[in-house]
């Protein structure tokens, strides 16, 4: 039962959300950026 729920959740929720996110932006910053001088992300000030 749990395996089935996980299966449905993964393919009906996680997958479409992930694919959609990748259409609009690059959530894990996977693309290379040849023009950028740096890949640093400035730290959030706490």
């Amino acid at each position: 039962m749990r395996a089935l729920l996980l299966f449905l959740f993964y393919y009906l929720v996680v997958t479409p959300a992930g694919l959609l996110a990748r259409l609009v932006r690059d959530p894990l910053s996977r693309r290379r950026n040849p023009d950028a001088a740096t890949y640093w992300i400035p730290s959030e000030k706490s």
Binding site: Y10, A37, Y39, W40
Partner: protein
């Protein structure tokens, strides 16, 4: 009474506990030394109990507990990874998600920590505060360092999101400057090659580094062209099409196989030239990235000192390149640079916020006490153990003990050296060490095969009197924690006939006056020993020098392959009897193998210790 903060790292690998008093580390230990399970990731109950006992306190005396990473932030990263890797990561998703979602799951690790601590029955546990994984590393690198201000660089696999962070440490504050995030990780890149070469991730990285000098970096350009895009400032992105860790538990798959000519080496399989060359290549790229990051750290902070932590900071070859390049006047590396040290860093970060000061700065020394922060056994306890078990021994005064051990070493004997408080961090530094004569060309092979029962290619490290280090090694600064690799000094090098010799045959070439600790590229992972941090060890090196003229000893951790370093006199005696160690110095007692009764065990102990 001092303001006490307890730090905990747990549930990934190398669980540990650390106690700081007014910001100063007073006790720290990894759980593996108690549970005898290497890299034990379970809750460090025994290490916590030890820390409380060492200070003679209960939780009622402790102001705060600090956990070394933020479980909720980590959960968000794991979820983002699932979404990012969809639709190919279902098996990983199915295996991992339930452990995050359940009521006592990993999202609420801080509550789990509090519950586990409460279960120890040692008083009322204070609030558990969480620090970010890289903040814990950065705090462990900077606050105990001897520097008033410094650039701080943390590089590891991953914690929550950050994989590489740059900080500016000043006084009792740490300012975050910039970071790189998962999945782009130098630690993961190195681990991927560790896995591909048939070693275990999170422990075999050390072997890969030791293997690198046997090879040629003929894959380095391929790595630069395909796997990693490095900017001039050292920041980078990996090409995730070649890595599997977004999708599951393995590191590499077909992409790597296509690039590097076939399937990965299986564990314990034959080592071939490909593995030597892969090791040399990824090591070269790692060094390049670390050097560039170090230059950037200097430019961005304007500091002349650098502090390092994170698993990649255990890459002592890369550390040596940073010091040799002269980018900084001096660098300091946290001896427990891996996740165990996160326990210490988290505690120190909280302690500094609570108003602790860094009083050690006036002394010019660091605040780590030589990293000798673990349990000690005094001579009364050792005597009780020896007598109760009928173990033949001789009790000697300090002078005589050191003299007899030095004489044994000079005669080619291998000595177990068990003294004082146990080391915190992965290296043995002369408290739980096996020692030998570095001048003996057969010593490296003998110690690998007959004592440690491990692969013959693995190098051994020298311990050297700090005052004589410059005569033997091209070392620009002290290296008290064996985290810098330096070249053996030209005066000690011998002309070696190397034409036509390659791979593991390089091992047989005698390259210096201290061949047992000279790696095939004339490098050595040096520990400089001063009188202050470990007087008896310093005394022994002095006695060995007086007898032989050589101020250097081979120093390796007191254990066999796959086993954690020994903690108690019993652990030490067992290891002594199971191996070909000739003498054992237990505190003020000397044991000779030839005087010991026959050792019998019901089963083959070697089958009970998993290979590392």
């Amino acid at each position: 009474m001092s303001d006490l903060v307890l730090g905990i790292s747990a549930f990934y690998h190398d669980s540990a506990a650390a106690l700081v008093a007014d910001g100063v580390p007073v006790a720290a230990a990894q759980e593996e030394r108690f549970s005898r399970k290497r890299h034990d990731s379970s809750f460090p109950s025994q290490a916590v109990t030890y820390c409380l006992d060492e200070a003679g306190v209960s939780f009622d005396d402790i102001s705060a507990v600090a956990y070394y990473e933020d479980p909720r932030l980590k959960f968000r990263r794991v979820m983002a990874t699932f979404a990012g890797a969809a639709p190919t990561a279902f098996p990983f998703f199915r295996a991992a998600l339930p452990s995050w979602l359940s009521a006592d799951g990993k999202r609420h690790t801080d509550q789990t920590v509090r519950r586990e601590l409460q279960a120890l029955g040692r008083g009322r546990v204070p609030r558990v505060s969480v620090r970010r994984h890289h903040e814990s590393h950065a705090a462990s690198a900077f606050f105990p360092s001897p520097y008033e201000s410094a650039a701080v660089l943390c590089v590891d696999g991953v914690g929550e999101w950050a994989t590489t962070t740059l900080w500016h440490g000043r006084g009792t504050t740490l300012e975050a400057v910039a970071e790189l995030r998962f999945p782009h990780s130098l630690g993961m890149l190195y681990s991927a090659f560790t896995y591909f070469c048939g070693f275990k991730v999170d422990s075999g990285e050390y072997k890969l580094m030791g293997l690198a000098p046997y090879g040629r970096p003929r894959y380095a350009d391929l790595i630069r062209d395909t796997l990693i895009d490095v900017k001039p400032d050292g920041t980078f992105r990996l090409d995730m099409r070649f890595f599997e860790y977004l999708r599951g538990q393995t590191m590499t798959g077909r992409g790597f196989e296509r690039l590097f000519g076939g399937p990965r080496r299986m564990p314990e399989g034959q080592l071939t030239e490909r593995e030597f060359d892969l090791a040399a290549s990824v090591q070269e790229v790692t060094e390049e990235v670390m050097l560039k990051l170090a230059r950037t750290a200097r430019e961005r902070t304007g500091e002349s000192k650098l502090c390092l932590a994170g698993g990649v900071a255990l890459n002592c070859v890369a550390n040596g390149k940073i010091t040799d390049a002269g980018i900084f006047d001096e660098i300091w590396i946290q001896p427990a640079a891996g996740d165990a040290g996160g326990a210490l860093g988290a505690a120190q970060a909280v302690a500094m916020e609570r108003g602790a000061s860094r009083d050690h700065l006036g002394t010019g020394r660091d605040a780590m006490s030589g990293s000798l922060l673990g349990p000690a056994y005094d001579d009364d306890e050792i005597a009780a153990y020896l007598t109760a078990n009928g173990i033949p021994h001789r009790r000697l005064d300090d002078e005589e003990l050191v003299k007899q051990v030095a004489a044994g070493l000079a005669d080619g004997k291998i000595v177990g050296w068990f003294q004082g408080r146990m080391e915190f961090g992965p290296r043995a530094l002369g408290a739980r060490s096996i020692l030998g004569d570095p001048r003996d060309p057969a010593m490296q092979s003998a110690m690998n095969l007959k004592i440690k029962f491990r692969e013959s290619f693995r190098p051994f490290a020298p311990a050297v009197l700090a005052e004589d280090a410059k005569d033997y090694f091209d070392l620009r600064q002290e290296s008290p924690y064996m985290l810098l690799v330096a070249r053996v000094a030209a005066a000690q090098q011998l002309e070696a006939p190397e034409s036509g010799v390659s791979g593991l045959d390089l091992l047989r070439v005698r390259r210096s006056t201290i061949p047992a600790v000279t790696h095939v590229d004339y490098s050595a992972r040096v520990q400089t020993v001063d009188e202050h941090s470990n007087p008896r060890y310093h005394h022994l090196l002095g006695a060995f020098k007086a007898r032989t003229g050589c101020p250097v000893l081979v120093n390796t951790s007191f254990n066999v392959r796959g086993e954690p370093i020994v903690r108690t006199p019993h652990d030490a005696y067992t290891c002594f009897m199971r191996t070909n160690i000739d003498m054992l110095a237990l505190g003020g007692f000397l044991l000779d193998k030839s005087e010991q009764p026959a050792w019998t065990e019901k089963s083959d102990w070697r089958e009970e210790i998993p290979l590392d």
